[in-house]
């Protein structure tokens, strides 16, 4: 218990988290510090490429095991299923309309790649091993939640207005997913030889990119939070409690399926995370009537910081306690 607390505090004192907090503070007090939009998008690309590639190289070294199939299957099930739970909870405790509730639920079924990065870093520092192939699981969990939300909301806009192919493209060929899986395959194919070429880029440079990205996220989260007008107590409560529910569900199912503790921890972190890049864009096509002020603020400004600072150490400790 004391050990976990120690680790949690060490987690806080890393440059990544501290720069996030710096950005948050700067944004909150309305500093004009800003990361240009083009730069932020480039940073996201570098992150995706590096994570995918590193995962692929690790998978090449260790091989894809039966654990991968189980983790992938569970990940897909969670991505489809968590929105249903989230939707139910939102309709029960808040006065959100059906469409916005469904759109918000989609975010919680999907994943945040940056939370995955923070989570896996924490596990590495804590000495908990997990499969490199978990990156592929991240990619798989990104988009099924969008379909669940569409069904839950009974949304007909894309069909009516001939946007079905656009939506299909968002779900099946989403840019971040393509890059993540593509980079994973490149890493898998080129293995150690490829890593020798990419070492500096996916190692030291990646750390810098991550830090800049988190600085930007902190700025944006704070600005969003201070500008938020539609946040009620039930909604904020949902954004803080839903990650706990999702991670508990993921851990329970992982235990039943007999997943290794490290992989179970990663799945718990993924289940608890909420998307704020891929899903919001898809929602403007799938459920245009949903209020982005609600789903973006909850995902980006409440759940993401919570997971980053408190959630990750908590889920990792729980995985160790119940499965490890």
């Amino acid at each position: 218990m004391v050990d976990s607390l120690q680790l949690a505090l060490t987690n806080l004192l890393t440059p990544a988290i501290l720069f996030f907090l710096l950005g948050f503070g700067a944004g909150w007090f309305k500093s004009d510090l800003a990361v240009p939009e083009g730069a932020a998008k480039t940073l996201a690309l570098v992150l995706m490429l590096s994570i995918g590639f590193k995962g692929g190289v690790e998978a090449a070294r260790a091989g894809l095991s039966a654990d991968f199939m189980r983790a992938a299957g569970l990940g897909l099930a969670l991505s489809f299923g968590i929105p249903v739970i989230a939707f139910g909870v939102l309709r029960l405790i808040s006065r959100l309309d059906r469409t916005t509730a469904a759109a918000t639920a989609a975010h919680y079924g999907s994943v945040s790649i940056v939370t995955f990065v923070a989570g896996t870093e924490f596990l590495r520092v804590s000495g908990v091993p997990f499969g490199g192939y978990m990156v592929a699981v991240v990619a798989l969990m990104e988009t099924p939640a969008i379909l669940s939300a569409l069904i839950l909301a009974g949304g007909g806009a894309p069909g009516r207005q001939g946007l079905r192919s656009e939506l299909f493209r968002e779900v099946a060929l989403n840019g971040s997913v393509v890059l993540l899986i593509g980079a994973f395959l490149v890493g898998l194919l080129t293995g150690d030889a490829g890593m020798a070429k990419m070492e500096v880029f996916v190692g030291p440079v990646f750390q810098g990119v991550l830090v800049l990205f988190l600085l930007d996220m902190g700025l944006v989260a704070a600005r969003r939070l201070s500008a938020a007008r539609s946040l009620t107590l039930p909604l904020v409560g949902f954004a803080l409690i839903m990650p706990l529910v999702s991670s508990a569900l993921a851990l329970t199912l992982a235990l039943i399926l007999g997943l290794a503790p490290g992989n179970a921890a990663v799945l718990a972190i993924l289940a608890a995370s909420a998307s704020y890049i891929a899903v919001p864009a898809a929602m403007r096509i799938a459920l245009p009537d949903a209020d982005p002020g609600v789903y973006l603020t909850l995902s980006l400004a409440v759940t993401f910081p919570f997971n980053l600072v408190f959630g990750v150490p908590l889920y990792a400790a729980a995985a160790q306690a119940f499965i490890g």
């Binding site: 656009e166 944006v220 864009a281 929602m283 403007r284 096509i285 245009p288 002020g293």
Partner: protein, 102 residues
Amino acid sequence: MQLTRRKKLEIVVEAPVLRRVEAFLSEAGVRGWTVLPSLAGAGDSGEWRSGDFTPGQEKRLILALVSSEAAEKVLARLADFFADYPGVVAVSDVEVLRGEKF
């Protein structure tokens, strides 16, 4: 120097649906248009600001110089489209050079 009367369409829609709306223009026989980016905005769908992680909410401005007939066709499509998706359109009377191009 000969000036011809035409209609100017200014259409603001969100980035994810841009191609669909451009299709309205080409299907109405419009021969050319220009797409411009935007920096920030506010409206019924909420507020957004470039660089503030508002995926999907960034707007695009489509500028098109068209004939009256084409304008009517495009407006009819947009009226139907705006029943489901956010956006605005403004039509104005303008005079252009080389009117045969539009």
